[in-house]
Symmetry: C2
Subunit: 250 residues, 2 copies
């Protein structure tokens, strides 16, 4: 790829205590869409079962800001809908269901081409952020359906853990903490870096530049290294150094 034109907002979750959905990220969302003269978003609601209700709820959010929203499920040809999209928003729900439906509808290539080669803005929240990364190996969701692969859209070459949650020191529950689960992933030979994004936080990616945004610090897990905290505003472009997609530094 000669140019690296991606424009991504990879949001931990649309919901945050004390805010309307996506309200906390409204400035970045609006700036991205205005810069690209977007009037209509293509919404991918596959992570939830009831697409129509999900579309109605999502339309409420974006119409307040002056955008139209069309649901990909209402298109007779989803691939064509992606090819024509001015911007893509992929909402949360169940990551396995979302990824399986993207594969079933043969949308992986189409979205990759639009976002990576043609610079169409991609906004993901929760499951929509998981599928945007290298793989869904670090989703929190239950594997309710079997996708043909865990490989994601690979719009970035690392993993994200959305809804990242610090261990509750008062808990007597013996299930693994989030950190323990991510460390289990890092034990695997195929594992790479995992960015734990707390609710209210997101990663902004513009070409080869990545910036941590939002209300909270993020926790980065790298195989064979100690986990490390990064404050909001931090330049995270180093996560793109070994990017086979954009060849950011080679």
């Amino acid at each position: 790829m000669s140019r690296c034109v991606r424009q991504l907002l990879l949001i931990s979750s649309s919901r945050l205590e004390g805010y309307e959905p996506l309200e906390f990220a409204a400035n970045d969302i609006n700036a991205l869409l205005k810069k690209n003269n977007v009037s209509t978003l293509l919404f991918i609601p596959y992570a939830l079962k009831d697409h129509d209700t999900y579309l109605a709820n999502t339309t409420k959010i974006f119409s307040k800001w002056g955008y139209e929203v069309v649901g990909i499920h209402n298109s007779r040809n989803p691939i064509e809908a992606v090819q024509k999209a001015q911007a893509i928003f992929v909402g949360g729900g169940n990551t396995f269901r979302l990824l399986k439906t993207l594969y079933d509808n043969q949308l992986i290539d189409a979205i990759q081409r639009r976002v990576l080669e043609e610079g169409v803005p991609y906004i993901g929240a929760s499951a929509g952020t998981n599928v945007a990364t290298r793989s869904i190996h670090t989703t929190n969701d239950m594997p309710i359906v079997f996708p043909k692969s865990f490989e994601g859209l690979a719009l970035v070459p690392f993993n994200i853990n959305p809804h990242y949650l610090d261990a509750d020191k008062n808990s007597t529950h013996k299930g693994e903490t989030r950190e323990e689960r991510i460390i289990q992933y890092l034990e695997e030979a195929h594992a790479g870096p995992v960015l734990g994004l707390r609710e209210g936080s997101w990663l902004q990616v513009e070409g080869c530049k990545a910036t941590l945004k939002g209300l909270y610090a993020a926790r980065l897990f790298v195989p064979k290294k100690d986990a490390k905290e990064y404050e909001s505003g931090n330049d995270m472009s180093f996560l793109l150094d070994d990017d086979w997609i954009c060849r950011c530094k080679q």
Copy 2:
């Protein structure tokens, strides 16, 4: 299958606040092993990365009760180890890693035959309980590796959610609650009943009889029905009614 000879203890988790590992279930474990004249257990440690440490820790538990433990990872021929096992214990960790390794080592058929046809006692905890059921669709674990299927050993014809956890009403976290995740599973056409087993609880299965045991009630989720609580001691054999394995009621 003409006879239904399975003998299972499907434990929510080996760890429980205030107890040594598996201590809370010691009576049922010992009764099962003694009844079958077991002196040595075959331990399957595949759910954790470090098999030797896991074997050492598990040996500590069972040696107190007078049993020897052999680790399947120390056997040159794991299938043969299963064929010779007096009893099988499958420990917790990551369910995806466990199931993938069972498939990779071609152990699914061997364990099914021993347990379902030859009545070899099977004790599972956490991930070891997940893989014993119809599928791992209701595990809590992170999908750190990609198994060739989510289908489990199907020693019982329904799903279990181990470490079942009630929603924390004081939490401001916006990730799905356990109940919400299970309900997402129930929305899928392939879903069947899911038994939510709280830590400290287990299901005892003897042929076509299933009994809820342990310190806490369990929560049963059935597609298109309200979730329902069942007290410890309750007869759960109705979950085996549509058992294609043992043909318990047909």
